[in-house]
């Protein structure tokens, strides 16, 4: 098993202003990796360099073993892209669109199977322009996966989805990952999405990767101090402690049984993320 993505010392500036400033990144085959970061952090630039849309200033990049800047057309047989904000193929039907893009690959998935996978079987003969925003995104996903990619790029895939559509989408991504061992690079603004899907999360800010870890361990989250909250004399009380069990036992003794309003929380992924990018909470 090789790594699907290897990046060392990646730099890219626009008009002298660095957008990506020394990014190192490795994504293993079969992994779901989420890249998080505020707008302007260098997320999109990094991903577009990996996708072969943009040229880097310096650094080493290997995607499926090739340099995206010099890769032959065949390299794209292994790459699937789910673009943001695309509104192309508006006058084509869903099935025509997927069939057309299947035609670019040597070994595409059967079109019916793809429509089933993204849940658009019933919309197959509808024109793409008549679909809702969420359905339109599923067409983009269908185009992204029809060529059986080894590596799938998902750029903020669930922006504008309602909660139910997001859950369905997550299930689809997990299915791709589990059944086909597709490597997935996801960029997202939603931390719950990263937490639900990603094996590992990378936080990028000001063009640098600040931390890479599993969602549970990111930024020392698992070993971070917990907060014990309860209500005493009608007032909410909080205690930050590295021994929440002990603290709770003491409280239980003090209250002689039930502790009113008891809650023990670890910092959320969002707390850790905001800490990392240095944003005030």
């Amino acid at each position: 098993m090789t790594d699907a993505v290897q990046v060392h010392g990646l730099h890219k500036s626009y008009h002298g202003a660095p957008a990506v400033d020394g990014v190192d990144l490795t994504i293993a085959d079969g992994e779901i990796f989420a890249l998080l970061g505020p707008n302007g952090a260098g997320k999109t630039t990094t991903v577009e360099i990996l996708e072969g849309f943009r040229k880097r200033d310096s650094g080493e990049v290997r995607v499926l073993g090739e340099d995206p800047q010099r890769a032959p057309r065949r390299w794209r047989y292994g790459i699937g892209l789910v673009l943001q904000n695309a509104s192309d193929m508006a006058d084509m039907t869903v099935v025509e669109t997927v069939r057309h893009f299947a035609g670019y690959y040597p070994d595409p998935r059967p079109v019916d199977e793809v429509l089933e996978l993204v849940g658009l079987t019933e919309k197959a003969d509808k024109k793409v322009r008549t679909l809702s925003g969420g359905q339109r995104r599923r067409v983009d996903v269908a185009i992204g996966v029809v060529g059986r990619p080894r590596l799938l790029f998902l750029d903020e895939p669930t922006t504008g989805f309602d909660p139910e559509a997001r859950r369905q989408f997550w299930a689809l991504i997990r299915q791709l990952s589990e059944q086909d061992a597709t490597t997935i690079l996801l960029t997202t603004h939603y931390l719950d999405e990263a937490e639900a899907l990603a094996h590992r999360v990378g936080v990028i800010s000001a063009g640098r990767i600040l931390a890479v870890d599993t969602p549970a361990n990111l930024g020392g989250r698992a070993s971070a101090e917990a907060t014990v909250s309860w209500i005493e004399n009608g007032e909410p009380r909080h205690l930050r402690t590295d021994d929440p069990t002990g603290a709770t036992l003491k409280l239980a003794a003090r209250f002689d049984g039930q502790i009113p309003g008891l809650a023990i929380t670890r910092p959320s992924l969002e707390d850790i993320y905001l800490d990392l990018i240095g944003s005030p909470r």
Binding site: L83, N85, S87, M89, M92, E96, H100, Y104, P106, G147
Partner: protein, 286 residues
């Protein structure tokens, strides 16, 4: 084509599936299919494209309803020949510029760069689109002209040969210029005026609406003579009108050599413009 053999990952024991790399030729045709379907499903654009020359031809034919004194040829026949050139300008230059601007804005170009498509397939798709629409356009104008204005269709091969090379050079030149023009507007909304206005002016100075072209002020004729439309119109007049009408051209003759030269020069210039200005990405994508 290269044949590869793979095993299905889900079921490695099943018989290996033979997979073939898609041929470039098939992808070109596939792009052409998408272009044609997208175009003909956009009803308003279809009606506008094909109805405009017809409406103009009928209106102008009614307004300038007189015989040319020297030749006895009705001016509507001169209009019809010019309208064929204008129809090619409209389908190849205006429509292509608008459609590529739209492809850049709606994500078509970015998407296609992200799939294993040979770039030639995109351009061949557009060529198929402009050829089909230009042929339909010319057929409609010719039908109107023969039915309403008794425009005689030439019977000798030589004239059809002239028609073929004027058509091909005109379509090629206008398409290349349309492709280059597509880089100018910042958005599809801006594309309509930015592309249509110069085309409208060009139609006036090229003697499309006002016939014969010699009735235009000298300076406008000279401006028109710089651009391909005037030469296309002159070429089509030489196909459909009797040689006596050549006397009404600025030079007094059909000037086939010069027509070919000017149109070929525009093809070359348009090609250079395309190669130097064509962008797969929109401005906001950097």
């Amino acid at each position: 084509m290269t044949a590869l053999t793979t095993e299905t990952p889900e079921n490695p024991t099943s018989t290996p599936r033979t997979v073939r790399e898609p041929s470039v030729w098939r992808l070109c045709l596939s792009r052409g299919g998408v272009e044609l379907r997208q175009f003909f499903r956009e009803r308003t654009a279809v009606i506008f494209t094909f109805a405009l020359p017809v409406v103009l031809l009928i209106l102008l034919g009614a307004i300038f309803d007189k015989q040319m004194a020297a030749t006895g040829i009705p001016s509507s026949q001169l209009l019809a020949a010019g309208m064929i050139a204008a129809g090619i300008g409209s389908t190849c230059f205006v429509n292509l510029a608008t459609s590529i601007t739209s492809d850049r804005e709606d994500g078509t170009l970015k998407r296609l760069r992200g799939v294993p498509m040979p770039p030639i397939a995109y351009f061949v798709g557009k060529i198929i689109l402009v050829l089909v629409t230009a042929v339909v356009e010319v057929a409609i104008v010719l039908a109107i002209a023969t039915i309403f204005y008794d425009l005689p269709l030439p019977t000798d091969v030589g004239r059809w040969v002239t028609f073929a090379w004027v058509f091909l050079l005109g379509v090629t030149g206008c398409s290349l210029l349309g492709t280059a023009m597509s880089s100018v507007p910042r958005s599809v909304r801006a594309a309509a005026p930015i592309v249509n206005l110069p085309f409208l002016i060009l139609q006036f100075v090229s003697g499309i609406f006002i016939v014969p072209i010699t009735t235009l002020p000298q300076v406008l004729q000279q401006i028109g003579a710089v651009f391909p439309l005037k030469w296309m119109a002159q070429g089509f007049r030489s196909v459909f009108l009797p040689d006596a009408v050549a006397g009404m051209e600025p030079a007094g003759v059909w000037e086939h050599g010069r027509i070919a030269l000017v149109l070929a020069a525009w093809c070359l210039g348009g090609l250079i413009l395309c190669l130097t200005t064509f962008r797969w990405q929109g401005r906001k994508d950097g």
